[in-house]
Each structure stands twice: as C-alpha cells, then as structure tokens.
Symmetry: C2
C-alpha cells in the first residue's frame, strides 16, 4: 500500500470518454489499497480557447482577470472526475486552488507556490476519500485567483506531492515514458526505465516536451520521485529520481533537440574589452533570452561574435543590433534562423571521456557541419543546419548504441 | 448620482461583441457619475453545456460537484467584462461567489443566500472601482461552491442590491420591459411603465419569462426597486416597485399564460370526507406540484374531482391515480394535456368588481369554453383548450383596453 499523487494532462481528460478512463485507472489503484490524490489539467484545447477569448476582448488583458478566466478550465474537469469516481464507489471531492488552499505569491499568470495546507487532503485520505485538485491554479494572500504559468499542473502535482510526502508523483501523459530520442525521428528509440533529475532537466529544457523543467527542478530540489506514464496504456513508464538511487549510469541517457533556435553573428568586431556587453546589453534590456554564445578571435585583431536566441525573437534582436554594429564599427551583421540545436545528455559523461569525440565523429561521417558547440557537466550541444536535424539525431543515437542497449529496468 | 446594481443575463453576455456592448453601457453610467455593481450570468448556452457534461458522465451527478462544474460559467464572463471595463478606463474587479463572499446554506443546486459581506464591494465603490460579481453562485459555511438554482443570477443581483442598499436593481434582458401581454401573441401589447411586486410575482409565476419569481419575491420583501430593461436598446424599461409608490392603479396590469399545464379528473367519486386527501396524497408524496383544484358535487351524491399539474408530471400522476381510482370506487380517470392557463393580473382588481365578468364575456364572445377557474386577490385564471390560447389572450387583452390605454409613465 502506497500513497501517490497522480496528475493527468489535457489530452488525458480531453473528453467524457477519457475522463471515464481516468476514473477507471484511479479506481483500480484505490481497489489495490493505495491512497490517491489526483491533480488535473483542463480539457485539451480549453485553456487556449479561454486565452483566445481574453485576447479577443482586450489588446492587453489584465493579468488578474486572465487568471480568473483561465482557472475556470480545471474547474470543469475536477468536478466531472469526482462525479465519475463516486459512481465507481470511490468517495471523491474536488478542490479548487483556494479550497486546498494552494497559496502562491501574487505574480499573476506566473505565480510561485508558497505554501500548501495539507489538513483537508490528509483528512480525506484518512477517510478513504480521493481529493481531486485543480492543477495550474492557486490563491494569493489577498484571496485573488492566480495561475502558475506554463507547466503549471505538473508543478501543482509536485508541490502537493512534496507537501504530503507521498511515495511517488506520477505524471500521466500521452506518451509512455522518456525516450532515448524523439521516436518520431528515431524509429528504434528506447524507453528509459529511469533518468536522473539532472538529465531530465536538460532533456526537458532542450525540447523534450514530456515534463516542464520547472516541475522537474522542483521535484529534484525536494527529492520527490517522479514517474512519467501513459494514460492510455499500462506500463512502468520512466522513473525520474536522484542519481544516488541508481546502481550505475550509462554514459549517455538520451538525445534531445530544439527547433526553436536562431543565430546572429556580428562579423569583424574590433577585439577590445567590453564588446560582448555592448552587443548583449540591448538584447537583455529587451528581455530576449540568449542561449549559446561563441566568440572567435582572428589573426587580424578582429573577432566574430555569435549567439543564439529563440526564433520568435530573431527579427527584433537583429533590428536592435543594427545601431550597435555602426557604433562598434563592425563589418557586418548576419543571421540564420534555419538552425537547430542537438544535444547529448547523460550524468555518466562526468566520468567518461570521449563523448564529444563520438558525437562529432558521428556528425562528420554524415558530412554535417557543426556551427556552434556548447557544453555543461552532463550535456554537449551543437548547432547544425535545420535540414540535417533528423539525419544528425539518428546518427548520434546510433553512435552511442542507445537503441540496442536501453538502460536496465 | 445614484448607485445601481446592474445584472446582465446570458444573451447579453453571449459573445465577445455583446460583452463589449455591456462594457460600453456600464462605462456610460460610470461616466455619468453613477456607482455601479455588475452581476453577470454565464454566456448563453454555457450552463446548459456544462450540465450536459455532468449528465453525460454520471447517471446521477453528485450535487456538490455539479455546483463546482456549473459555477465555472460565470467565472469566464466576469473576467472578460472586467478586462473590457479596464480598457475603457474604468477600474473593475471580478468577484467569484466565495470572494465577495456570498454565503449560502449548503443545499447544493438550490442554495439560499444567507449573508453577503459588503466590505470589499463598498471599498471598491468608494475607490471608483466597478465590482463585477459572478451571479448564480455562492459559498457555503464549509467553503464549498454552491449555486442558487433557476433564476439564480437575478437572485444574486437582488441580494447584492439589498445588502448594499442601492437605489435600484436593474435587470438587463433581451426584452425592453414587462408587457400587458406576450407581444408574440398580441401585436399591440403595450410596455408597462411600472407594475407592483405582487403583480410581477403573478405575471412571473404564470409564465412571463422576464424575471424569476424568486428574485421578485426577494426584492419585494426588502423593498428594493427592480427595473427590467433591454441590453440592446435604450429605454426606461419597466419599474417594479411597491404599490404605495404609485398614484393610482388601473384595474388590470396584464395578461399572462402558461402552456405547461395538464389536467386530471377523477370522475364519479362517492362524495365522502377525505376523498381529496386520498387523491392528492400520492401526488404530493411523488413531489408533483398541484396547481388548480376544482370539485363539483352532482345530484347523485357523486363528485368529479379535477386538478392541474405540469405537463411533464402528467403521465406519472395518471399512473399513480389508477390504483386510487379502484380503491375509491370512482367511475373513471380522465385527463387532458392539451390545455393552457390564461390569467388576468392587477392589484386594482381588489377594489373593482366586474373584472371576472369582462374576462368571461370576452371568452364567450369567441365561443371559448372555460374548463376551470381559479382566483386570488389580484388574479383570475382560467383553463381553456390549447388551440384557443392566442385567440383567448387577444380577446381578453382587447376587452380590458390594454393596448389603447397603457399605464402612464
């Protein structure tokens, strides 16, 4: 008998049929003697519909009211699931953010969880009642509705899991776990039985859409075991846990990629101190996130300064830098928004040399030119032309033998 | 400068365009220096959609969860209107039932308002902020979401008006006031400048759909002036107020009708004490409402006992009475669900004889047979065959000269 928080995302509760299936699944766990707390998202598409209404009525929708608007989505799914659970003979009770309460700060549309009262939840569990909590929403100290921003329901699930000290926080999605690479690109990608929080964080940040980085970071910080499972099929999923729990880590856990990349190069900048800050200063002021930065000094005392931004920020960043180029006396401003980032992630890298060589060799064998390189303790990222994305990911996946030697269960 | 509660129904907030129109209207009142509290319904059709979801997932949806489900509808409209008001330069703030709070008892799906805290609302008004309150919903002492049942948003508006002691509670609908008869039937029906609470209560109960009887009763009890206006056209609407406020009442205010009628007759019952209770007992136990009751004793010591019920209860009521018929030794059980009730309403009736004669004469002149008659202090109702409904209403309307002599403004 264990105690679980189970979170079901938008596609898992996207219709009456699917909510019934979730009720059956939860009822199964209850029948097996487990204590369950459920956290739900809104029906798939509903949050987008509500946000569209807000954007339709106002050019700059008030954040406080956007939160009231958006929070109505989860209210529907929790009520429906609680009804379905009761019909299956399992007492259940829906909770809105303010009813738990899940207390956040007052930063509307991106609130941070500050405190969760577990009194009512614990009483429900003792009484055999399944609490069904609205994800994504909270209440600020003044009693206003708040929402947690992107990935908010995952964050709610982890926060509740931390507050209650449960055995595992289970995130049910439309995939059956975390894979060594995107199965849509790499046919023989293998499901990972487990990854570390650090690996998952890199995989999540690098474009693997399974879990939001914020919830992974949160879970890692408090040491709550996370498990990603499919809502639609049975299976063990992927356990995300601390490194110490595992016997031995293979060198590489998986390959991630991101298409949301563009690069900008200031060509022929005089190589004097302060150049980098003059270039990146206006970018930072405009709230544009910079990811990779590379600077090469040539023999002529001139340097090429290159950095990457999100594609949606590309045009604005280039415009901002035109005047900087003139004042710096740089030769040219160039850019490319048809690039992608491909990354190899694994905690085993720390103690294994040669990972970079294997990766670069694999790309070279396919004649794929590496445009930029960036590394961290557990990750190596390269920028390549977008047209080589699939080819490159498959080559690297194969070079590390990920399809043939999946990590042991 | 006055202080108003303004309630807008589902069709008035049925689309972004219409919510914008409501914002324009409220902004106009604010610009004229009035203090406004807004109460809103859900977008037209939304509550029905939510109820349908509940009924789809569960054969007997849990009432507590139905309230959570349904309350999400108003949450959307209040957020959108508050955004639109702010865009027009008028500070506004949405309030859910629990945020005001509007405290009710715990009778889910038909909760009664027990108390409204006016502290936040009064502070908003003092600060020039427009509170935008979700109608239909409240919170019970345990913190659970409740809803007020049919006509709930009107009830919210009146309750807020009572609590704040405003000058007038304005109910904006898709009609521009209360008419002497249904304009779809009587072409030259006239808008009433005013009616008394008693008259409105009879008109509302008898099938005029403009206001829910409960809100009229509530307003009358606390002496809050109600006004019915159109959301879509300018105009004075109809003021519903206490009798004392008016100089003189005409004999008849208007003609109401109800199609939701069916009658059942127990024919040839031995006329002994206790017959009525034996017939109506099982009807009451089955929670079937009985409206009109007529009993005639014939010369043979047998009586015919007739009563009316809602059409939806007709078949069940007849079935229930089959066994009663046998035990009473009654000759026959007959019924008719193609009947309607037509009523003449007016507080002036109290002091004017001859109203019944005028009504009956008008029907007789059209050869319309009166099947049942029921009277109260300010109303005379008759049951006639459904096929004569329009003819009968027009004849009575004309006989009382309602189209040519509308009540003075």
């Amino acid at each position: 008998m264990a105690r679980y928080v189970q979170k079901f995302g938008g596609t898992s509760v996207g219709s009456i049929e699917r909510i019934r299936a979730v009720a059956d699944k939860v009822a199964g766990f209850r029948a097996a003697g487990h204590d369950i707390v459920v956290v739900l998202s809104a029906m798939s598409g509903e949050t987008n519909r509500l946000v569209a209404l807000g954007n339709e009525i106002s050019p700059r929708p008030d954040p406080r009211e956007m939160d009231v608007l958006q929070a109505s989505g989860e209210q529907v799914t929790i009520a429906l699931l609680a009804m379905a659970l009761k019909d299956r003979g399992h007492p259940a009770r829906s909770y809105l953010g303010h009813q738990v309460p899940i207390v956040t700060n007052d930063a509307h549309m991106r609130a941070r969880v500050e405190r969760i009262d577990t009194e009512r939840l614990a009483a429900d569990l003792s009484a055999g009642v399944v609490p069904v909590i609205a994800g994504f929403q909270g209440v600020d100290p003044g009693g206003d509705v708040t929402t947690l921003g992107r990935g908010g329901s995952d964050t709610t699930a982890v926060a509740v899991a931390v507050a209650l000290g449960v055995d595992e926080c289970q995130i049910y999605t439309d995939v059956d776990g975390v894979y060594t690479a995107d199965p849509r690109i790499v046919e023989n990608a293998a499901r990972l039985a487990s990854v570390t929080f650090e690996e998952m964080l890199e995989l999540a940040s690098l474009g693997s859409k399974v879990l939001h980085p914020r919830s992974v970071e949160f879970a890692g910080k408090y040491g709550v075991s996370l498990r990603v499972l499919s809502s639609f099929e049975d299976g063990p999923g992927t356990l995300i846990t601390t490194e110490e729990h595992k016997m031995e880590n293979p060198v590489v856990a998986g390959i991630a990629y991101s298409r949301d990349e563009a690069k900008i190069t200031m060509v022929g900048v005089p190589d004097v101190p302060g150049v980098a800050s003059k270039i990146l200063g206006p970018i930072g002021i405009a709230n544009i996130d910079v990811d990779m930065i590379v600077q090469n000094v040539g023999a002529d005392g001139l340097t090429d300064f290159t950095f990457t931004v999100k594609r949606s920020d590309y045009e604005q960043a280039k415009e901002l830098l035109e005047s900087v180029r003139t004042s710096l006396g740089a030769r040219q401003l160039t850019g490319d928004n048809k690039i992608v980032k491909v990354s190899v992630v694994g905690v085993g890298m720390r103690s294994h040399a040669g990972v970079a060589k294997t990766m670069f060799d694999a790309l070279a064998a396919e004649s794929i030119n590496i445009q930029m390189i960036s590394t961290s303790e557990i990750k190596i990222s390269v920028v390549i032309a977008e047209r080589y994305l699939e080819l490159g990911v498959r080559a690297i996946h194969s070079a590390f033998g990920l399809s043939t030697e999946p990590r042991a269960e």
